[in-house]
Subunit: 269 residues, 2 copies
């Protein structure tokens, strides 16, 4: 069974997608196809949107499901008149908040992902710069300014996790690859000693690491199962001996890794 979804917003559509996806993951038997209609901020665009929705209904013979974060009442009413099932995020909760806070909502569109606080926004962009400047063991002299330093074998997910931490939370995340040279014994590389309280390790299953490396350098020693196992054994021992907090990234997304790391390292998100 295939059902069609629409994410509709007068802004970026990111919140509508977040809401909808978190709900539909609970129905894995169904295949969903989805369309995002962002920036629906005029009546003309709203009428064009419901024309699409009603067209889908005519083709699918089942109601499209609409996840909407439309703020403006006049636009919302147009969307509500479509033939889809409308899950109206804003309208469902804003009344309770208005009552609790004893004031009317502003009904201003496009605020969710806008630059409202320039300083806070700059912190995120500066953190992305920092992560790039301190990627893959370069620029050790900047480690004093890091909030966290991720360790791990090559291709265990350090870089994307650092970038996610930076982009979403403004965390200055450096990363340091543990290479053959560092793995002659299970001791922490000396250069990391001054930053011990910022270190966080990643580990991964040898099978998965082998898979990932084979895509990059097929049939190399670097990608061989034996090499992956050897590196990971020494690294696991190092984390244990040196008391480095760590996580296994094999089954975790960068979102899961990042939020678990924040919690474990007690970093403010």
């Amino acid at each position: 069974m295939i059902r069609t979804l629409y994410y509709i917003s007068d802004g970026t559509g990111i919140s509508a997608e977040t809401l909808g996806r978190s709900l539909i993951t609970q129905f894995e038997q169904i295949t969903f196809q989805s369309y995002t209609l962002p920036y629906i901020d005029t009546e003309a665009k709203a009428y064009a949107a419901i024309a699409k929705i009603n067209q889908t209904y005519a083709e699918d013979h089942t109601r499209p499901i609409i996840f909407s974060t439309i703020v403006k009442p006049e636009i919302r009413h147009i969307i509500a008149s479509s033939q889809g099932l409308v899950i109206d995020f804003f309208h469902s909760f804003i009344g309770a908040l208005e009552e609790e806070l004893q004031m009317p909502a502003q009904s201003a569109v496009g605020l969710s992902h806008a630059v409202i606080n320039r300083e806070k926004y700059n912190t995120r962009i500066d953190a992305v710069d920092f992560s790039l400047q301190c990627d893959d063991g370069i620029n050790l002299k900047a480690y004093g300014m890091a909030d966290i330093i991720l360790l791990g074998a090559s291709r265990t997910g350090k870089t994307p996790t650092c970038l996610y931490l930076a982009m979403q939370y403004g965390i200055r995340a450096a990363n340091f690859p543990l290479t053959d040279e560092d793995l002659q014994n299970p001791m922490l590389p000396k250069v990391l000693a001054p930053h011990r309280n910022k270190l966080f390790g990643l580990i991964i299953s040898a099978e998965r690491l082998h898979q990932i490396r084979m895509k990059r350098l097929p049939d190399s020693r670097y990608a061989s199962m034996a090499q992956c196992e050897t590196e990971l054994n020494v690294i696991a021992q190092m984390y244990r001996l040196e008391g480095v907090p760590h996580l296994n990234s094999t089954e975790l997304s960068i979102e899961e890794l990042s939020t678990r790391i924040l919690a474990l390292m007690d970093l403010k998100r």
Copy 2:
């Protein structure tokens, strides 16, 4: 007036934060302080969470506001018994979806930001790699594999926008800096000609660019107002003459830039 918020989830907390923030931006007169409690997936953790919430109530003398995406009924009931106002994103909509889809929800926790579809997830991670490999005009030979190529003066937001497009949407986004050399005349650099249909330009106000560059290289020619104005004038002329679609990034977040670019370039998100 300060009000305290809790974002509570049995997963990462990302959906609770995203949805809660999109509501509270509608009340800008109020200062909110917030705490995220992720991975509340046992009754013991739920009781610890409501102890914190009730403690806040005792200190603030106003009800904390709780944005919850808790899936499991037994955990949800515990949170509902706190002294806060609970805005329950999951429970509010799941019934309507169960009815529409004519099946019960799985009530499985932690699915929203998990790796459910490994191939789809890998697309995002591979796109992040691609963006890093094609950052700042390097690796032109890979442009054939790009979904989009962002152009602009140095420090107009190309790199973080490319990384956001990659990380969130799996879009392979390269970026090419338009430097002094390229700006002797308002013609597209020759190397870009084969990729004309993938080009998207960023522009920015001279004041803002001057500010950003002054932070990086204070009192340099590069950061001077005159230099910023000259570069931006030629670039604006180039976009116009060469028909390069473009956006002004001065007031836009990377989320806004990315979602507008996807819409304008008709890229699937």
